[in-house]
């Protein structure tokens, strides 16, 4: 299955569904929990290691560490730093956000956007968390049985028919079932204001 070959470059794309992520393309780099050998410093092996670590919210204290010293999130971050040093055109993130806090997820989303705009990377984010991609992706691919079943724009709420709905979407769905007219908000603040308006002006 080939997804990135025909897309517009220097953008972020989402990928959802149940597949294994692999590639034979030299221009692609998959960032996952690969357990590298030796120390972080030996793995990165580059004069720009410190810069790369800083970009992924780590620092030089991690250089002497081995995989056994790192948390699952830190292993993924080091792999990300390694990918930045490799400087491949396409980056594929494989469940990258799984062990991150809310703040870290937002920080990395900003980094992804910066990588596409300033460094012209094309990024594919594979996840089961729609909220991690729906406000930064140009399109979201849904796959099943190794095929792209459907492609959604970031504003297309039909994707909710295919994937686990985020908490806010589940709440909105419940309101709609009660015949309450409400939009498909992505931000809790926007939803809050909408509910307030509905309650203040029930007609």
């Amino acid at each position: 299955m080939r997804i990135l070959e025909d897309v517009t470059k220097s953008r972020i794309y989402g990928l959802m569904g149940n597949i294994n992520i692999t590639t034979n393309n030299e221009n692609y780099r998959i960032i996952n929990g690969y357990k590298f050998k030796n120390t972080v410093e030996e793995y990165l092996n580059n004069p720009k290691s410190s810069v790369a670590l800083k970009m992924v919210s780590l620092n030089d204290d991690y250089l002497p560490k081995k995989v056994s010293d790192l948390s699952p999130a830190e292993i993924k971050k080091v792999n990300f730093a390694h990918a930045l040093i490799e400087n491949k055109e396409y980056l594929i993130f494989d469940y990258f956000e799984k062990e991150l806090t809310t703040k870290e997820k937002e920080d990395f989303k900003r980094l992804f956007t910066r990588l596409t705009k300033d460094y012209h990377k094309t990024i594919l984010i594979f996840t089961n968390d729609l909220t991690f991609i729906w406000d930064i992706s140009s399109a979201i691919f849904y796959v099943d049985n190794s095929k792209v079943i459907n492609t959604f724009s970031s504003k297309d709420s039909n994707i909710l028919n295919y994937v686990d709905n985020p908490s806010i979407s589940k709440f909105i769905t419940l309101l709609k079932k009660r015949n309450i007219s409400i939009e498909d908000y992505k931000s809790p603040q926007d939803l809050l204001k909408a509910i307030y308006r509905l309650k203040e002006n029930p007609n």
Binding site: N20, S71, P72, E74, K98, T101, N128, F171, L192
Partner: protein, 200 residues
């Protein structure tokens, strides 16, 4: 006989618990110890044997296709790992950042199955939404227990949670906003209850 466990030298009674950690925490290094009974640990290196999984269980969890599927994904293997140990005589199931990979229907069936069989779940996660699953929360940062207690009490500690990098769960955050506007008078922890309150 009650089951006790310790994390970082602090002892807890084993009940369904969320252990909320920041991302630098490595649960594999945890000093968690369980007394009296053994535990089942589900981590990111799933192991399973299809022979250990009765077909009735595959049917219950709607995973029949996994028995014949040629190329299993990580999610498939994780599900099979869980199904291969779900009928163990062990009382406590520890999930190390793995529930977050599972789809909602599978999780709902899993929680019901474990509850019906009197099993206890200890769920390690960085996902704040998962704190809504169970009634007790332990928060760990920098290898230290920052706070612990009943869910409703801990989810009031917004400042501490934000400092650690967590937002509040969506329903709690929405409740706080609605309470501020005077539309409700308390915090709700599930959608149905909150919607019923707003629109009877």
């Amino acid at each position: 006989m009650p089951i006790l466990f310790t994390i970082n030298n602090k002892t807890f009674l084993a009940t369904n618990t969320t252990v909320l950690t920041t991302s630098e925490y490595n649960p594999n290094q945890d000093t968690i110890e369980f007394y009296n009974k053994g535990i089942i640990v589900i981590n990111e290196t799933p192991e399973y044997s299809l022979n250990d999984i009765p077909y009735s269980l595959l049917t219950l969890f709607e995973c029949e296709e996994l028995k014949v599927k040629k190329e299993l994904t990580f999610i498939d293997k994780l599900k099979l790992n869980i199904l291969s140990v779900i009928n163990s005589s062990k009382k406590v199931y520890v999930f190390l950042n793995t529930l977050t990979y599972l789809d909602d229907p599978f999780k709902e069936t899993l929680f019901k199955y474990l509850k019906d069989n009197n099993k206890i779940i200890i769920n390690y996660t960085t996902n704040i939404e998962e704190t809504l699953y169970f009634d007790y929360i332990i928060v760990i940062h920098d290898n230290k227990i920052i706070m612990e207690g009943p869910k409703k009490a801990l989810l009031k500690e917004e400042k501490i949670l934000k400092k650690l990098g967590f937002n509040l769960p969506f329903i709690v955050e929405l409740s706080i906003g609605l309470k501020y506007y005077g539309l409700i008078d308390k915090i709700y922890y599930d959608n149905e209850s909150l919607v019923n309150k707003l629109w009877n």
